[in-house]
Every structure is written in structure tokens, then in C-alpha cells.
């Protein structure tokens, strides 16, 4: 990594609430932390809303970042367990009324398998709306890359992002999913430097995104950027990972 001042957009951050030991914070406060970590922008997703009441938490997220839409790109969530109709209605509302730009799904926290019958209609609807869908992945039993790929394959018009590229144990599966399915992209959030190096070597650079999980009340950003310091990745590829691909995927 030659250019230490490269623009960095984080494609995987969370809006802290009261879960996971976090405390609620203002959009301005979160933005300040993210900027001091070195970010130029962030896709931001609910944390508490993954545990229940997605509509209420979509509202809270939209309200929290409303004055900072030059920095944050808000992602909504919906719950497949509320039923297909309710989930699709909330997706419409979150996009139409709240201005959400993407959809976040977390199968193990939200207690559904990617093969749940409501998932496919949700994915297809997101595709119609032009929303990228970022899944938590890497965690059995409900969040493996190939489970998510089986759904993504049936919604080829929808951009599906594996939010952790399979984490430590399933990154090979994530690479296979990325190579097999044109609509699957990989976010390198929480990946180790060694696996990042391997993913970059084998997957198209245009399908890779930088991410940190920032927002959990932890200083995750600088250590995540530091992972790239010793890797043999060209600045051209890093630009794609650090900001160009994130910008290209948004509606």
C-alpha cells in the first residue's frame, strides 16, 4: 500500500443502540469517530433492529443520520419471520419514506435460514429497487456463504454482498460463491490479512469491498486499514476495494 492517504469508504458499519454492550449515540458523534479513524464515508446498518422491531429501528437509523447523508449511506433491515408481505411492505416504506439505499440481513441474529421462503421475494424486490443486499456471513448454521449463494442464484438481478467473505473458516466457500455467481460480491470486513490477500488474488477486484463493523463501540477502523499495509496489493486494486466499488454499487 503506497498511498497512505487513500479515500476509504466503509461498506459495513453499524449504528449503535443498546445491544452488544453499545450505547446510543448521535449521528454526529459516530461520524466524528469514523472520520478520525480515516473514513470518508460509511454504509451504516442498524444493530438493535437485527434483534427485533425492524421498522422502529429503521426509523431510528434514518433519523440518526438524516443530517449526515453526505457521509452515511443508510441500509434498512426487514425480518423474513414477520412474513413475506410484511417484509416487502417494510422494504417499500424504508426506501420510499426513509430514503434507505441498501438492505442488511443477518440470518443468525434474525433467526432465519437463507432458504426461508420469504427470503427470495425480499431479494427480488431489493433488486427491483436497485438496493444492494448485505448479508452477515461466515457463521454456521444459518449464515454460510453457500446457503446465501443458493438464494442469490435465484435472484440474479440483485446485488448480494457476503458481509464477511466467509470469516476465517468459510472464506474458500465465499471465494467459490463470488467466482460462480456474477451478482455476489465480497466485503472483506473482519477477514484476516492473509485471507484478504488470497481473496484479492483469486476474485475480481471489482467485486471486493472494504468493511470494518465499526460502530460497535470499538476502535475497529485503524486496525482494519492496517491489515492492508503489509500486503502486496496494487494501489489500483486498493482504490477499487477502498471506495470505487462501494460507490459503483449504490443506486
Amino acid at each position: 500500500m503506497e498511498d497512505q492517504s487513500m479515500k476509504v469508504i466503509d461498506s459495513h458499519t453499524h449504528f449503535p443502540g443498546t445491544s452488544f454492550g453499545c450505547r446510543p449515540r448521535s449521528g454526529e458523534d459516530i461520524r466524528n469517530e469514523f472520520e478520525s479513524g480515516g473514513l470518508s464515508g460509511a454504509w451504516i446498518m442498524t444493530t438493535d433492529g437485527l434483534l427485533g422491531e425492524p421498522a422502529r429501528h429503521n426509523d431510528l437509523l434514518a433519523e440518526g443520520v438524516r443530517d449526515h447523508l453526505d457521509f452515511f449511506v443508510p441500509f434498512c433491515t426487514v425480518s423474513p419471520n414477520e412474513g413475506t408481505d410484511a417484509a416487502l411492505a417494510e422494504l417499500d416504506r424504508a426506501v420510499g419514506d426513509l430514503g434507505m439505499k441498501g438492505l442488511k440481513l443477518h440470518p443468525w441474529l434474525q433467526s432465519f435460514s437463507p432458504t426461508h421462503p420469504a427470503v427470495l421475494p425480499i431479494l427480488r424486490k431489493a433488486g427491483e429497487l436497485g438496493l444492494p443486499v448485505l448479508f452477515h456471513d461466515g457463521t454456521p448454521p444459518y449464515s454460510t456463504p453457500l446457503q446465501i449463494a443458493s438464494a442469490a442464484e435465484k435472484a440474479p438481478e440483485t446485488t448480494v454482498i457476503l458481509g464477511h467473505s466467509g470469516l476465517e473458516d468459510l472464506y474458500e466457500d465465499a471465494i467459490l460463491a463470488c467466482l460462480r455467481h456474477e451478482n455476489i460480491h465480497l466485503c472483506l470486513c473482519s477477514q484476516s490479512a492473509g485471507n484478504i490477500s488470497e481473496i484479492v488474488r483469486r476474485c475480481p477486484a471489482e467485486k471486493l469491498l472494504f468493511g470494518t463493523d465499526a460502530g460497535f463501540g470499538d476502535s475497529l477502523i485503524k486496525p482494519a486499514i492496517a491489515k492492508y499495509l503489509d500486503l502486496d496489493i496494487s494501489d489500483e486494486t486498493l482504490k477499487k476495494i477502498f471506495h470505487e466499488n462501494a460507490q459503483a454499487l449504490l443506486p
Binding site: G21, W108, G138, T139, P140, H164, L167, E168, D169, S190, S192, A193, G194, N195, F216, G217, D218, S219, L220, K222, P223, A224, A226, K227, L229, D230, L231
Partner: protein, 251 residues
């Protein structure tokens, strides 16, 4: 943490020699380690020697240790499914000067709760050697499974590799280690907040600095320590004294 002043004579308790020419790989590692103030490394052999060819792997590591006695210690490998042959392999490796046993249940095909590993633990007790186990891989190498093994062999010393990273296993690391005092945690790959939690709840005497190379990199592993604000005394235990004590490394 005043990193520049403190960062010397560090011991890395979690390195895996990359596959390839061992001399050139260890030389490349020493170059990188030196830049980060790492003066001594505890290394395990590459994957192929972890799964099979255990004797060859141990001999290779013993040769490297003989060549670099001040800079390198090495863990022995023995796949428990080889039964009595595995015990002989392990004892031979200890006679050659290797400093502990390296287990990787995912690679070696056993669960930490299976008795097939017992004869190897008994050999470690006989020789007074600690056991480092990779953890974080469901369904066979999770923190509570290591705790079960450690409780059954209360006289042996165990190191929880990567302290259960990734994802939900990371949450289990500290509660599992609280079940039994004979487990230390290797912090490589784990994120800052989980390391901080371990130090707070278990004490700094039970954590070991590791780079997790080649999966992780020193740039990331040191960057993530900054928010911990460790005192000089605590950093000394974490990154030097604890390792000297359990691996029996002379200053």
C-alpha cells in the same frame, strides 16, 4: 500504550510457518518480525505437516530451532488418529527440543472433546509441555470444548489459539476460560474489545501476544492494541513474561 518505547524483545506465541522453503520462509518472517520488535517466535509447522507427515514436520522445525535457538521455538505436531505412533512422534519431537504440542482439530479431524486426543495430552504432562490448540472453528474446536479438555487435564497448560475467533466463538472465549485456570488465551485475530474483556476478567497473566502470521499481520495486531492502553508492566507480561513462563524461553 507508548508503543515505540515498549516495542522490543516481544515474543510472538502464535505463528505458523507458511508452506514453501522453510529456510526462506523463516528468513522472510524474521525480517518482518524484526521491523516490529519481535525477537522470538513460537512457530508451528505448515498445514501439510499438521495433518500428516508429522515426523517430517517436527524434524524440519527442530532443525530450524537448532539454527536459530535465540529467535525461534517450535511446537510439535502429532495427529491423534495415529494412536501410539502419534505418541511416539510427539515424544521424539520433545526429545528434539520442541516446546509444546500444536493441535488443529479442524485440520486433524477430531473434536476437542473426543478421547482420541488423551494420550497426547498425557505425553505432554509427562514432559511438562503446554498444548496450543486452534479454536474458533465449529463444530470441533470451540472454546467450551477446549475448556472441557482442560478441566479433564487440570495439571496441563493449554493455550486457546486465537481465543475462539471468529464471530460467536469470540464471545465464548472468556466464559470458557473462566471455567478452568489452566487456559491462557492467544489474542491473535481477536478484536480489541474481546482482548480487553479477557484482560479485565481473567487478568493479564492469562493472555499471550501472537501475530497469527501468516493469516494476520503484525501491523494489524499492534494497531488493535492501541485502544487497550496497557501499562508498561501489563504489556511486559502480555507480550514477554507470560510467554517466557509457559514456553520456557530464556530471556
Amino acid at each position: 500504550m507508548k508503543q515505540a518505547a515498549m516495542q522490543s524483545n516481544i515474543i510472538d506465541s502464535a505463528m505458523r510457518l507458511p508452506a514453501g522453503n522453510p529456510k526462506s520462509e523463516v528468513s522472510a518472517w524474521f525480517d518482518l518480525a524484526e521491523r516490529w520488535g519481535i525477537s522470538h517466535t513460537v512457530a508451528a509447522p505448515p498445514d501439510e505437516f499438521v495433518m500428516a507427515f508429522n515426523d517430517e514436520g517436527n524434524a524440519m522445525m527442530a532443525d530450524l530451532v537448532k539454527q536459530y535457538p535465540d529467535r525461534l521455538s517450535a511446537l510439535a505436531v502429532a495427529n491423534p488418529w495415529y494412536g501410539e505412533k502419534a505418541v511416539d512422534t510427539l515424544k521424539r519431537a520433545f526429545e528434539r527440543g520442541l516446546c509444546g504440542l500444536y493441535l488443529h482439530p479442524g485440520r486433524q479431524g477430531f473434536h476437542l472433546t473426543e478421547s482420541v486426543v488423551d494420550p497426547l495430552i498425557e505425553a505432554c504432562l509427562e514432559y511438562g509441555k503446554p498444548i496450543y490448540s486452534h479454536t474458533g472453528t465449529p463444530i470441533c474446536a470451540m472454546p467450551f470444548q477446549l475448556a472441557e479438555l482442560a478441566r479433564r487435564f487440570g495439571e496441563a497448560t493449554f493455550v486457546m489459539g486465537h481465543m475462539g475467533w471468529t464471530d460467536f466463538c469470540g464471545y465464548d472465549a472468556v466464559p470458557a476460560a473462566q471455567q478452568t485456570p489452566n487456559i491462557l488465551l492467544d489474542t491473535s485475530l481477536a478484536c480489541s474489545s474481546i482482548v480487553a474483556d479477557a484482560i479485565e476478567k481473567l487478568g493479564v497473566g492469562r493472555v499471550l501476544f501472537g501475530t497469527g502470521y501468516p493469516r494476520s499481520r503484525p501491523a494489524h495486531e499492534f494497531e488493535k492494541l492501541k485502544p487497550l492502553n496497557l501499562s508498561e508492566e501489563d504489556f511486559d507480561k502480555y507480550a514477554r513474561k507470560n510467554a517466557r513462563r509457559i514456553w520456557k524461553i530464556n530471556p
